[in-house]
């Protein structure tokens, strides 16, 4: 079967469908959908929903995990967490860190993807640069943290090349900006590679048609490329926002949430509750609050998906 044959039927009949038994067909298709989703649902139910429900349960009790005497405490834990200034400080930092990171990821990722997709340079050089550009992707967070600690130390190479002696990570004024920068560096390839793949899906004739209509490269970018990439960009933004707001290893291993509390994130805050204070109930509470926040995001995303249809 060749692709060519698919173009035969008239699009109008395709979209509307011409069969009478629409209802039965819908039912069948619902069954089919669940068939396609079954493995996903099974896995997520057993290995994700169950632990999450347990975590939600912990958030309404105290002395969970190790002590046998846990008691139902209602919303007491929520009151404790929500009235802790440390929680709000962490929320503010997390917002700053995530929003800036995600915006920079998008701009850098899209710029690099466009550059790498440019037909102005030869295929081998594009391949070469592609390989260089994915490099930050290939390393585990602990190594990225160690590497940047070395590069940015007061006696490190960055200060040497700039001929400065700035305490990039240890200064309370700079630390949040610095960890955000490191995260931008570590995360843009995710956007770049995904958008590069997305660019391949844009039919060339759309560009050609726009060119014939007299659109320059800039207009083509805004009128053809961006609208075509939008579904991917929306998914990327959503995922990256969720992931970045959870970034733990990178922050913990570079600054530990310090100096003082300037890089304290919800992730480090939660970690300390669980493993430094051994207060698992409060850690679970903070986790549930993060879950609620991102459910708002998820609903917005799904709305967007629906509006698009």
């Amino acid at each position: 079967m060749s692709l060519r044959t698919f173009t035969a039927p008239d699009p109008e009949t395709l979209v509307k469908g011409s069969r009478p038994s629409t209802k039965r067909r819908q039912l069948r298709r619902a069954g089919e959908s669940y068939g396609f989703l079954a493995p996903t649902l099974l896995l997520l139910l057993v290995l994700m929903i169950v632990p999450i429900v347990m975590v939600i349960g912990y958030s309404f009790q105290d002395n969970v995990i190790l002590k046998s005497s846990s008691e139902f405490t209602g919303i007491a834990n929520y009151v404790t967490v929500l009235t802790d200034p440390g929680f709000w400080k962490a929320t503010g930092n997390t917002l700053y860190f995530s929003v800036i990171s995600v915006a920079a990821h998008l701009v850098l990722g899209l710029t690099f993807a466009m550059l790498l997709n440019s037909r102005l340079i030869s295929a081998p050089s594009r391949a070469f640069f592609r390989a260089l550009y994915v490099l930050p992707w290939l390393f585990t967070a602990a190594v990225i943290a160690v590497l940047w600690r070395m590069l940015l130390s007061p006696n490190g190479i960055v200060n040497f090349m700039l001929d400065t002696d700035v305490e990039w990570l240890a200064s309370p004024q700079l630390a949040l900006g610095t960890v955000t920068f490191i995260n931008i560096w570590a995360g843009y390839p995710f956007f770049m590679v995904s958008l590069l793949a997305g660019l391949q899906g844009i039919p060339q004739d759309l560009h050609e048609a726009a060119s014939i209509d007299g659109a320059g490269p800039v207009q083509r970018f805004w009128n053809v490329t961006i609208p075509q990439l939008r579904p991917i960009i929306v998914s990327l933004l959503l995922l990256d926002l969720i992931w970045t707001s959870q970034q733990f290893a990178l922050i913990w291993l570079t600054t530990g949430g310090g100096p003082i509390d300037v890089t304290e994130m919800l992730s480090t805050y939660t970690y300390k509750l669980a493993f430094a204070n051994y207060d698992f109930s409060l850690a679970a509470t903070a986790a549930v609050l993060v879950l609620l926040l991102s459910m708002v995001l998820a609903v917005l995303y799904v709305r967007h998906q629906k509006a698009r249809d």
């Binding site: 089919e32 068939g35 493995p39 600690r149 007061p154 305490e167 240890a170 600054t255 530990g256 100096p259």
Partner: protein
């Protein structure tokens, strides 16, 4: 429409296959189990620690092999992980009732594990195993029960870079705080980028608060506790912290303090960029290997001017404990007794460049290495001091004080305010 039905069937079949595959994959995992007893009464115990990767390849396993030879009915499975994650691992194990039988412990965790009831009282266990606990250098107790025995101890004396000091015109390592401040200033004033002292205050690994800050109070016989309760605003602690604040204001402390860790401190010293540091003896060989040209020596941490009493010397331990839920406590106690026995303990402390936990043990390096001999003399002239050992949420206490000190050194509050705030925070944890 036969095609449709066939396709649908195929869809269902495919889904079924994937699901089945996932379940099969899931089921193949069954059957693995930890510490067990076979029919002939032989037992396998797990020993979780971070020591094996820290020691030269294969040496720790060889030591355990000796134990197995002597106790053929016991098999020891070593569960080794990175130090930085050991606590989480033990906690997760404890939560699901699968904590390994014998566990390596840090003094900072003991109180928390004991309070949660996941580690066992060692006294009756060692008694049954016929081990005389009077040979132990120390025992870590929580509410009068021993939960951890320090196997080996790493003491933290002062290291001085002798070349830097003599260039700066300092002829002998400082013995008092005034001499220290003076020497630090002279080293910092030298041409080049060397600093007088290095102070790691990372909040990720906040043990700098214990080793590099509180050590100043302990070295002058001071204490941060009163009747087991926090007492951070007393004169001992205040004068130590004020002294550090003075060094900070003089600009003699190496840059990057607020995110610096113990490992970074050592790199700075090894590369000749700081004149003095307070550090673990465990690093002597490392410094020698990485920079054979560095001339350095070891002395006691300077005390307040005019102080003549015994000096507290901070230490960190590799401690050992037994899981409360272990089904083989008897075998576990045998392993603990073995590691604490005079001979094994000498051997282990030699391997680790640490001081033994058995009073009778003498590590080989004390006899044939001048630096270690000096350190051993310092150790014996003073007393081991680490008031964080056995405190509840000890690491969090260090972190809280560390963050307050950072805010003070950054100029956001006074040192007195920092101590007062930390005192309030600590009182909330006790």
């Amino acid at each position: 429409m036969p095609t449709h039905r066939r396709m649908r069937n195929r869809a269902v079949l495919f889904t079924g296959l994937v699901t089945a595959a996932a379940s099969v994959v899931a089921l193949t995992g069954c059957g693995s189990s930890s510490g067990s007893e076979s029919a002939d009464g032989n037992v396998t115990i797990e020993f979780a620690q971070w020591w094996e990767p820290e020691l030269p390849d294969g040496e720790f396993r060889a030591m355990i092999d000796k134990f197995e030879e002597a106790n053929p009915e016991v098999t020891v499975e070593l569960v080794s992980g990175p130090y930085a994650s050991t606590k989480e691992q033990l906690f997760a194990g404890a939560a699901s009732g699968t904590m390994p039988d014998v566990v390596g412990l840090d003094g900072a965790w003991v109180s928390d594990f004991a309070e949660q009831g996941v580690i066992a009282d060692l006294t009756p266990l060692l008694d049954e195993a016929g081990f005389d606990d009077s040979q132990l250098v120390s025992q870590v107790q929580v509410e009068d029960k021993t939960y951890m025995v320090p196997v080996v101890n790493f003491v933290y004396p002062m290291f001085t870079n002798d070349d830097l000091l003599s260039q700066a015109g300092v002829t002998a390592p400082p013995e008092t705080r005034t001499e220290f401040a003076d020497a630090a200033k002279k080293v910092s004033d030298l041409d080049g980028d060397a600093s007088g002292w290095v102070l790691p205050l990372s909040l990720e690994a906040p043990n700098g608060v214990q080793n590099d800050v509180m050590s100043w109070a302990w070295a002058s016989g001071g204490s941060m506790l009163k009747d087991g309760q926090p007492d951070l605003t007393n004169d001992d602690v205040t004068s130590a912290v004020d002294f550090i604040g003075g060094l900070w204001d003089d600009g003699v402390i190496a840059p990057g303090s607020f995110t610096m860790k113990e490992q970074d401190k050592v790199e700075e010293f090894t590369n000749g960029r700081v004149g003095m540091m307070i550090d673990s003896l465990a690093h002597i060989n490392l410094i020698r290997e990485t920079n054979p040209d560095l001339n350095f020596s070891i002395s006691a941490v300077p005390a307040e001017d005019g102080y003549s009493g015994e000096r507290g010397i901070p230490y960190a331990s590799w401690g050992i404990g037994v899981a409360e839920n272990s089904e083989h406590k008897e075998a576990a106690a045998k392993l603990v007794s073995f590691l604490m026995s005079e001979e094994t303990n000498s051997e282990l402390s030699t391997m680790a460049n640490a001081f033994p936990g058995n009073t009778g043990s003498v590590p080989a390096f004390v006899e044939d290495d001048d630096l270690f001999k000096k350190a051993f003399d310092i150790y014996q002239a003073g007393y081991p001091a680490n008031e964080f050992v056995g405190l509840p949420v000890a690491e969090e206490l260090m972190r809280q004080l560390g963050a307050q000190l950072q805010a003070a050194l950054d100029g956001q509050q006074s040192l007195t305010e920092a101590l007062e705030k930390a005192q309030t925070e600590w009182e909330g944890e006790f």
